[in-house]
């Protein structure tokens, strides 16, 4: 009972912090925070494949990027395209891409899966570069209108105001994370984890592996697409760099690993840590890539269970000590 109370208090505190955040910390950190939550969602979707289903998506940026570009294109070409549908259409695009690729993706696992997703990720990157008429090539797409949040007859909130956008983005992503969290707790979620541990046995228990994998892939693609869509709204510019390139495929992997692939919240923590680190390091040097890479190597070498894993192990040790003494 006490545990539950503590949990509710914790969440209440979190919500309060989120609510007052922009007023207290200013525009820079407001946008910074939105970037952090976007990548949190993005990294969580990667981990739903890595930590939960046991496959490494090496080209995850293709889902993020497809979402981002779809949103940008929709807002550019369709007059008066509303806000929420703009986000949803990004999610739809990401999910659709995953669905289309799933017949091939479900056939493989392990290194082959990583290579296949790498190949597709690169393919889509190259396509975006080459088909300038659609994607603007290297220059990308920018200058699209950011629609207001409209509830007809009730209110219209201007989303070009960065603080308003903060609330919108955090709310949307929080809802997505909640949905995904619940998703992992459903019977279907336990099927996914079963596949990770022993795909063959799942087959023999009567579960349709290709279908199950395809559904999980689609869910991951869709929510990664939503992350991309919100990113497009935040940055007001979408180009291949930082959206579809391979470094954007590596980023969520690093975040998931640093935070811990064995937990739902790991990637969120990883996203936070890496964002903070980048913000800190950038004051001293532009070489954040080096710092990121070095940290990643250290984590893989010495802390492969991630921060969450480290914390759990420490907690277990501490409690054991308590019990003993």
């Amino acid at each position: 009972m006490r545990n539950k109370l503590y949990k509710w208090i914790l969440w209440a505190v979190v919500i309060i912090i989120l609510a007052v955040f922009p007023r207290v910390l200013g525009i820079y950190y407001t946008n910074f925070f939105v970037g952090f939550v976007i990548f949190s969602l993005y990294a969580v979707t990667l981990n739903l494949l890595l930590g939960y289903m046991g496959v490494l998506s090496f080209g995850h940026a293709m889902f993020f990027g497809t979402g981002a570009y779809t949103t940008a294109i929709a807002l550019t070409h369709i007059q008066g395209f509303p806000l929420l549908p703009a986000v949803l259409v990004g999610g739809l695009a990401g999910g659709l891409l995953a669905l289309i690729l799933s017949p091939l993706l479900v056939r493989v696992s392990g290194t082959a899966f990583a290579m296949l997703t790498l190949a597709f990720g690169q393919l889509i990157f190259v396509l975006a570069l080459k088909y300038r008429e659609v994607t603007g090539g290297e220059d990308g797409i920018g200058g699209y209108p950011i629609p207001p949040l409209n509830i007809p007859g009730v209110l219209s909130v201007d989303m070009t105001d960065q603080i308003n956008f903060y609330y919108f983005a955090v709310a949307v992503i929080a809802v997505c994370l909640l949905i995904l969290w619940f998703y992992t707790k459903t019977p279907f979620g336990s099927l996914v984890v079963g596949i990770r541990d022993n795909a063959m046995r799942m087959d023999y228990l009567g579960f349709n592996l290709p279908q199950t994998k395809a559904i999980n892939l689609t869910v991951c693609g869709a929510f990664a697409g939503i992350a991309g869509a919100v990113h497009a709204l935040l940055m007001k510019l979408v180009s291949t760099v930082g959206v579809l390139d391979i470094h954007n495929s590596f980023a969520p992997i690093m975040m998931a690993y640093v935070g811990g692939v064995g937990s739902f919240f790991g990637p969120i923590i990883g996203s936070g840590v890496l964002h903070l680190l980048e913000d800190l390091v950038i004051r001293f040097t532009a070489r954040i890539g080096l710092v990121n890479g070095a940290i990643f190597i250290l984590v893989v070498l010495y802390v492969p269970m991630g921060l969450v894993g480290l914390f759990s192990a420490a907690k277990a040790k501490w409690f054991h000590k308590e019990k003993v003494s």
């Binding site: 056939r107 296949l116 190949a119 393919l123 391979i246 890479g293 190597i297």
Partner: protein
């Protein structure tokens, strides 16, 4: 000779040269994967490192041949150190960890290169002796590309000799096929691993150094080369040198002709092909090991 024929031949030579470079890079990659189970994402990064070393030595000595000799060796040493201190440590954490650490290494090499040499493209001039064109049978061929082809053939011939005619080569081939068995026979597998890794990187280093004048030396060099090398290894088959050879040449020609005639479609075809091979024959067209 009609201009179109000249064009075709020129493209063929380009394709062959690039294909050879690809094979140099891919051969190390496929041997390393076949033997150690590590897919070295950073492999092309070492090639790039070697290209930068070559530029530096050239800057300091003014002699291309010296640079060509030293750069790959230095890169190879870096590779050996990487294997010894990073890869070996992470081995116990499994294949995923190995894969991920090579991602980290790739990132770090990229940044190091930018720190020391900046982000701009560096020009490495083709030495006098290798520049220009040569006439033969009514066609003109760029000498440097012929040099690349020739050098690659020499090196690969040498490698083939070692692999198939010496005891060491036999051990290496056996280790690629079944490392555990070789270890059980009492052979110092860690040493063999280190050796093969180093040589694999050295081969990539040669390719990188030689490619410098061709592709210009810039931080994005590893991306194109690396991706192509992966396609070669994946399609040709993990651990299969013959497969890598065939696919590398095929890809080189596809690139050359593709970029000329179907610039937008070429990469799509390549990736699509790789995707299908992966999905239906995960061990590659000629591969034996998973």
């Amino acid at each position: 000779m009609s201009p179109t024929a000249v064009l075709y031949v020129a493209q063929a030579i380009h394709g062959l040269a690039y294909g050879m470079l690809l094979f140099l890079v891919a051969s190390g990659l496929t041997l390393i994967f076949g033997m150690m189970g590590i897919l070295n994402i950073a492999h092309a990064s070492f090639a790039m490192l070697s290209a930068y070393f070559c530029y530096q030595v050239l800057l300091m000595t003014g002699n291309f041949w010296v640079a060509l000799l030293i750069a790959p060796v230095v890169a190879g040493i870096c590779g050996v150190l990487t294997e010894r201190f990073l890869l070996r440590t992470v081995h116990k954490h499994g294949h995923l960890a190995e894969l991920l650490i090579t991602v980290g290494i790739m990132t770090v090499i990229l940044e190091i290169v930018k720190i020391f040499w900046g982000a701009e493209s560096l020009v490495v001039k083709i030495p006098q002796s290798l520049s220009g064109l040569v006439n033969f049978a009514g066609l003109t061929y760029p000498i440097y590309r012929l040099f690349i082809i020739g050098l690659s053939i020499v090196i690969l011939g040498f490698m083939a000799l070692i692999l198939f005619k010496t005891r060491l080569g036999k051990i290496v081939r056996a280790a690629v096929s079944d490392a555990d068995m070789v270890s059980a026979l009492g052979i110092n597998t860690p040493l063999v691993f280190m050796l093969v890794f180093g040589i694999g990187i050295w081969l990539a280093g040669v390719a990188g150094a030689v490619a410098g004048p061709l592709l210009t030396v810039f931080p994005g060099m590893a991306d194109q080369l690396g991706m192509d090398a992966f396609v070669v290894v994946v399609v040709g088959g993990f651990g299969s040198l013959g497969g890598a050879f065939i696919v590398a040449l095929f890809l080189g020609e596809l690139n050359a002709y593709g970029i000329q005639f179907i610039p937008r479609l070429a990469p799509v075809l390549m990736f699509a092909f790789m995707a299908f091979v992966l999905a239906f024959k995960p061990m590659g067209l000629f591969g034996e090991r998973e």
